[in-house]
Symmetry: C2
Subunit: 208 residues, 2 copies
């Protein structure tokens, strides 16, 4: 995919966040970069300051903590969503996890520097404030639900919710990562899955 095609796709996909007239679009695209990252590589690396706000055109990433030498994946993002190491990006401090690609992934990125330039740019300033706000708010909505699920739900309920949601994460992500996403070990999730299967089976038997 060449730059022009990717940017056209990007413009379409972010139109719920921001729209442009041609003049603005021309100015805006000058600040964008395309970044192609092969499978299992880092988009953001532990210990470094994340200076990019990304948007996934296609592909997927996982947010990956290393605890006692073992990887624990806390989150996923798929195509058509914004990705960044939020705290690191916002506070300009070293990132405490990796963001790694699960597949070959194409990003459109805005560097922090360019974002700040746009926030001062006469033509774009106000629009970019809004753009930033809407992106940030969309993260808030995701996060609020996720925190609530940890506070009021059991791991089993969280897994059932995931199944019900029918999200990409269920279809495309290895079970071990899903377990970590839920906050438990793979072994424990395996037991939960068995419990669910058994109770589903016995329920079906009653009804037939």
């Amino acid at each position: 995919m060449d730059r022009e095609v990717i940017l056209i796709s990007y413009r379409e996909k972010i139109k719920n966040f921001i729209t442009f007239n041609d003049e603005e679009w021309y100015a805006f695209t000058g600040f964008l970069k395309i970044k192609k990252v092969k499978k299992n590589r880092c988009f953001v690396e532990y210990g470094k300051i994340c200076r990019e706000l990304g948007f996934i055109i296609n592909g997927a990433v996982r947010f990956c903590n290393v605890i006692n030498g073992q990887e624990i994946t806390g989150y996923f993002s798929f195509e058509n969503s914004f990705v960044t190491a939020l705290k690191s990006y916002l506070a300009e401090e070293p990132c405490l996890y990796d963001i790694k690609t699960l597949e070959d992934t194409i990003f459109v990125t805005i560097s922090k520097k360019n974002m700040e330039a746009m926030l001062k740019h006469p033509l774009l300033s106000c629009k970019m404030e809004r753009f930033g706000r809407l992106i940030s708010e969309s993260f808030n909505i995701l996060f609020e639900d996720r925190i609530k699920s940890f506070v009021i739900k059991t791991p089993e309920q969280r897994y059932l919710d995931l199944l019900k949601s029918g999200k990409d994460i269920v279809k495309r992500i290895p079970v071990q990562y899903i377990a970590q996403f839920i906050g438990i070990t793979a072994v424990s999730l395996s037991r939960i899955r068995k419990r669910i299967m058994n109770s589903t089976l016995s329920t079906n038997r009653i009804h037939t």
Copy 2:
């Protein structure tokens, strides 16, 4: 406290998010309301759409889910922080929890309607986009840490982190609510506290 005093305090406290010249301030304050809520009353009520962005001048609130007839508190906010039922406020959907005051609390609030008016107001528009963005981003930073703690830490570690942080929540909040905040029962936290105490004692003994 009368309105003028409260607003002066507000202006000072939010200056990291937004600053005004006198003309802007005059316009801005026209959109603000003061809300005083007695202890143990709702600032936001389950099932209703939250249409206010609040800021706590003094007092404190808890975010309170009702599960099987039992209250579970998932979060707290204290003076000098913004409060709203985020998802409900942003998506204009019924709120799925209460926000209740822990003490008599004074809020400065911006109604959604007024916020939208300001976002169109020639003098304030761009500033308010930014204001909204910065508030939203500050929530994101809090949320990201909190989610990570659920994914990679045990309840015991989460409690120890809280102690280390020395936050108001440790000093001002009943233990049972802290347990819920951590995602466990009060009984379980009680055991954890005992474990910690014992290991602290034995450590001290070794060193003396």
